[in-house]
Symmetry: C2
Subunit: 350 residues, 2 copies
């Protein structure tokens, strides 16, 4: 009998504290070496090549390496390399390829060309023998072990952690290393949200469209949670920052429109709260992921993060709450948890 607890997805979600401990312990040295090389070079920009869940890691890197390290970070357009065969200049760039399998030809092509141009190439992957790892000058291992569920969970948080470690190694701040060391424990605590996730899932049983709101560091969380909802529950979930939503898409929000808000404490919270007010005026039904009691009280439903972490690390705990919600909603909707329709674990795009 395939009970929920026996699904790969459930198990992989719950493996995350151990995976993160492994990444912290095993990758610190290579990341410090890499940071030393970066700090010696005249790197003017960071370019990230990734797809799907890994692209959302790229969104986190864009904000963190921008805010904490002053890099201008862009997401690559792989089709320039693979279809138009016209290659942007990347000589003074750090080019970062992120891929669980390390197999997607378009991502490999970007790294290959970047290396030929003399750029510093780095891969973050769960397979250190993959073609992506082979083409990169430096490789960070996700240390997640085999990921068998089609919907990625542990490789996402391991990759977020790797990016956060790189940012910290570049700054050399001991306080940040201490904050990183507390993350596996914070994730363990956050996994206790499972009962609340089940309750929230019951409310969303018949949702078939929604928007997911996050900004700044948690812009990535909005994209990743929207992707989990699409992959697992087939809800057409649109991710937005408040600013992006207000510049047009807000029109889709009607009475009873379901909205999910990623709203942990930090500099971004007032911005999210102002939007929440406008959403409620439009009649939206809100589900809030937050560790701020006042914000949680404003929601129609809530997942109260039981453990507060600094805002720059909050994407790691916030997505745990989102993963549990997506898992429980998939079960509530009686859908296939480990093998969503139309998807394969390794996707090779050109």
């Amino acid at each position: 009998m395939n009970t929920l607890e026996h699904t790969y997805l459930y198990q992989e979600i719950h493996e995350q504290p151990q995976v993160l401990r492994n990444t912290l312990a095993r990758e610190a040295q290579v990341i410090k070496d890499l940071a030393g090389v970066i700090n010696q070079q005249d790197i003017s920009q960071v370019v990230i090549a990734a797809r799907g869940t890994s692209d959302n890691v790229g969104r986190y890197a864009k904000y963190l390496l921008g805010a904490a390290n002053g890099f201008s970070v862009g997401l690559a357009a792989p089709s320039l390399f693979t279809i138009y065969n016209r290659k942007p200049r990347l000589k003074n760039a750090l080019v970062l390829g992120i891929s669980q399998s390390g197999q997607s030809p378009d991502i490999i092509a970007v790294l290959q060309d970047a290396r030929q141009q003399g750029a510093l190439t780095v891969s973050i992957t769960n397979d250190t023998h993959s073609p992506l790892a082979e083409v990169a000058a430096y490789t960070v291992d996700m240390n997640a072990g085999p990921e068998k569920s089609v919907a990625a969970t542990k490789t996402y948080t391991a990759s977020l952690l790797a990016v956060a470690m790189l940012s910290t190694a570049l700054n050399g701040s001991q306080q940040q290393w201490d904050e990183l060391a507390a993350i596996p424990q914070a994730v363990s605590q956050t996994l206790e949200l499972d009962a609340a996730a089940l309750e929230a899932a019951a409310r969303w049983r018949f949702a078939d469209r929604c928007v997911v709101i996050g900004r700044g560091f948690n812009y990535a969380t909005a994209f990743e949670l929207a992707l989990k909802l699409k992959e697992l529950t087939y809800i057409v979930a649109e991710p937005y920052s408040p600013a992006d939503l207000l510049h047009g898409p807000f029109a889709i929000v009607e009475r009873d429109f379901p909205v999910l808000l990623i709203a942990p404490r930090g500099a971004m919270l007032p911005n999210i709260n102002r939007l929440l007010e406008e959403l409620h005026q439009a009649g939206a039904d809100s589900l809030i992921i937050s560790d701020d009691p006042a914000t949680l009280a404003l929601g129609d439903a809530r997942l109260a993060l039981p453990w507060s972490v600094p805002e720059w690390l909050s994407p790691i705990t916030a997505i745990i709450a989102g993963q549990l919600f997506a898992l429980r909603l998939t079960a509530t909707k009686k859908l296939n948890i480990d093998q969503p329709r139309g998807l394969h674990k390794v996707t090779r795009t050109h």
Copy 2:
């Protein structure tokens, strides 16, 4: 009586040939001057700050300035400047702010900071006396005249044209200037798709979710058409490249799921056609915008572009077909054409 032909949106869609003629004639000199400055400097990257429709112009610029001019182009994260107050290094960058109104504080803040850092700043705006124009070293005028409909149309194509002119001026190719000169006529011809748009709109009367597919130069078109559909018809429309769709979101595609494909002739067409096959296998219902008869024949419904332009300029004609479809679908759904719910013409975000 407010018949369709008397709406601002209808009129502004039909003003586009003249607007584009004006932009071609009046902005060529400032764009050539700007290209001269760019070619003299050691510009290593282009950073674009924009929201909503203008952000989709940024997506076009990312591909065109990458493919034709070798620039690595990134979209800025304005919240780094306005909320986290941590500013990425932009010294050797060309920083391009795009905004119809030139009023949004977050976009102005990015340009302001870039200029202080010594970056080359450029604005593309419909108000050359706006705060955005004042802060930029160079300003390109959209020449669109007042845009009164909340949903932007003529300012979008004028901005695309400005970007295409900049790319051409940087290369100095007479062939490209000739191709640009033919665009107003191509747009005039494309406006004759109105009857076909009405027919396609009837088929989509009850659609409430969809995906819009485009890649490469027309990745921008997918985003812009999805935005028009959300603003005007309240359809939850998700834009994707084929590669992005396959890395997860494909799961939402079920029997009868409406899919809109931007598929003009060019290097990207085989990639789009392969996806179309997979979409049909999943039971999707397709509406195709193309000038390729074989591709059009594969669709369940179609908007046959009557005039072929080179692929790098096809986003300008492809979105005309999309605008007509969105207009006709809004009328078919009996919704407000010029004043969608919840939106204002000028959106000021921080």
